[in-house]
Subunit: 215 residues, 2 copies
DNA sequence: CTACAAAACGAATATTCATTCATTTTGTGA
DNA sequence: TCACAAAATGAATGAATATTCGTTTTGTAG
């Protein structure tokens, strides 16, 4: 057994033990590639649908070989799942931007509502992708459940509003359905054409949303 | 030219003219097969998604050969388009059941709102399919536009409500988004589990919807 | 500079799919 | 009962697909 073959044996042994070797030259996966893949998938699924977003096209759009995708993702489903969770995270980050729990319930709600509206208006690709996932079986139920957790602060706010007798004592599902969910309809590409959401309409929409749950 | 070959020539000529021959034995396509195909497609697209609803599975579920599908539909896209339009028609028929223009605006709206709620609660397959189509690019835009026409009576009712100063003077798109569209969220399979719509919740929901647009 | 492990790749591979073809079956009008 | 056109079919067909394989390239640590 020469030096090299010993090294290989030793390395394989340590790999089996799930140990990292700091003194060895290990090439890194570059995050740019991963992001390029997520971006390409987002774009293709949005425009062609999941059924016409093959790995070959995704690879071409991300400017790499199809085989490289499998270094970054286990398979196509894993790629979609990770994209979904990442987009959910981006959405939630935007939703609670500048949210300050000190403010009164209505002002807090207004802040969050407008944040979400702006996300849906400006980040149309991310927003449409999430709508598509939430209305089709392309994402497993357990992954969807994972993506739902981010909204807890909004639920807490509503609970505060109920206890302060400012809004109706109903389930947060009803509140979400009648105040936030309608934004998905209004920012849907097809409807946006016929009913563009300018600042005035956005104000009208917020008033409608607030009137629906206020006491 | 014998009798048969003349007959064939004559027949081909008349077919070219798009003429039906009442004195000839022409076998009919049976509507049961067409409906079985639509039903199978509905079920498969709902449960597996469009990407995993191949013609072979559709044929198997409808208990016929894949080749037979092409006697009833031009291709897969045509099958999906026709299914979409048919489900839209079923939806609209249900929506305006027992609708009587003589009643006052609120009562009329209540009737239609509950009709739609019941459709979404009871005909879950049809309803989920429509949600899936409206949020993905599997249906061409012009077909979607065609399916939208059925809702005109509701738009007229809202216009009447506005002129009678009973509801807010806003775009029907806003009204739809905040009163009807939320039902899609509440009857979504995933959310129905956590927030089941019993009669009490349905009443709450209607009040929320009405409060959002009433003056 | 050297060694090497992992990244990256292009070309297979083995399925799967929508659609077509050649043939058989069947409903219908006479 | 017969003739036949269209319905119905099972077996191709050919294109497309997700994933893998064998090899080359490259970043990194010594």
């Amino acid at each position: 057994m020469n030096e090299y073959s010993f090294c290989r044996f030793f390395y394989v042994y340590l790999q089996h033990q799930n140990t990292k070797l700091s003194f060895m030259a290990i090439r890194q996966k570059c995050d740019k590639k991963r992001i390029a893949l997520l971006k390409a998938t987002l774009h293709l699924v949005n425009n062609n649908g999941f059924h016409d977003a093959p790995m070959s096209k995704i690879a071409k759009m991300a400017e790499m070989s199809p085989a490289t995708i499998y270094i970054y993702f286990e398979n196509k489903q894993d790629l979609i799942n990770q994209l979904y969770l990442e987009m959910k995270a981006v959405f939630s980050a935007q939703a609670f931007k500048n949210y300050n729990e000190e403010q009164c319930v209505k002002e807090s709600f207004k802040q969050i509502w407008y944040n979400i509206a702006k996300f849906k208006l400006n980040q149309t690709e991310e927003s449409n992708f999430l709508s598509q996932c939430d209305n089709t079986p392309i994402i497993d139920e357990n992954i969807k459940r994972e993506g739902l957790k981010h909204l807890q602060p909004l639920v807490n706010l509503w609970e505060r509003g109920v206890s302060e007798k400012i809004i109706k004592p109903v389930s947060p599902y009803l509140m979400y359905a009648f105040t936030i969910y309608p934004l998905a309809f209004l920012t849907n590409t097809q409807h946006k054409e016929h009913c563009p959401l300018n600042n005035e309409k956005l104000k009208e929409a917020f008033n409608i949303a607030w009137d629906s749950i206020k006491l």
